[in-house]
């Protein structure tokens, strides 16, 4: 039995249009743990699978951090549901919680930038970031409105 679709026809059309910008393959790694947050993890996984059907450049892998420990460990994801967005390399982009509303737009944008590998930043910003001598962990808290 198929669960009802999360994305509306309008969402799908808009995302397909955005996905015309995709150039290289992107892997969406979904972290799910039924026992911790079953409903949220199922919805998150369904959302990612629906998005992935909109381009043949996207693939999905689902990991349970408690079971697929070796595969999950390098991602250092300590919450579920979560998504990692990977392109030509593991870019370190994570979404904790179901990306809805504004965060959904960010998920789509992250897929595009992971695909092209071309961040929309000034040359000065890119040069400063490439010169970093230490790791930088950025957390961005948002709400679904």
């Amino acid at each position: 039995m198929n669960a009802m679709a999360i994305l509306t026809e309008r969402d799908r059309t808009a995302v397909c249009k955005e996905f015309e910008k995709l150039t290289g393959p992107v892997k969406l790694v979904v972290f799910s743990q039924e026992l911790v947050a079953g409903d949220l993890c199922r919805q998150n996984e369904q959302l990612v699978r629906e998005v992935a059907t909109l381009s043949d450049k996207l693939t999905v892998e689902v990991l349970n951090p408690a079971i697929d420990r070796e595969r999950a460990e390098p991602y250092r994801v300590d919450q579920v549901p979560a998504i990692a967005v990977e392109g030509a390399r593991a870019y370190g982009i994570r979404f904790y919680g179901i990306p809805s509303g504004y965060e959904f737009s960010n998920l789509i944008d992250s897929i595009i930038v992971a695909s092209t590998g071309e961040p929309a930043l000034s040359e000065e910003t890119k040069a400063s970031l490439q010169a970093l001598a230490e790791d930088v962990d950025i957390k961005v808290f948002s709400t679904p409105t």
């Binding site: 965060e103 930088v136 808290f141």
Partner: protein, 67 residues
Amino acid sequence: MRLAQHMAVASERVRATAIEATEFPELSRAYQVMGVPKVVINDRVQFEGAVPEQDFLGAVLQAVAPA
């Protein structure tokens, strides 16, 4: 999150995590999230609200600067 994720693509040093505050209340409490978006860099520099790229970069550089 938009700037953060573009920064993550620009540099292997940068990781960007979007956190849905209502789904992770403990994490939000730990980081004293009152308004959103709230950005926390290396658990050291934080700010609320959307800022221009230059200011965001300034916060990143501040977070890695010697104390």
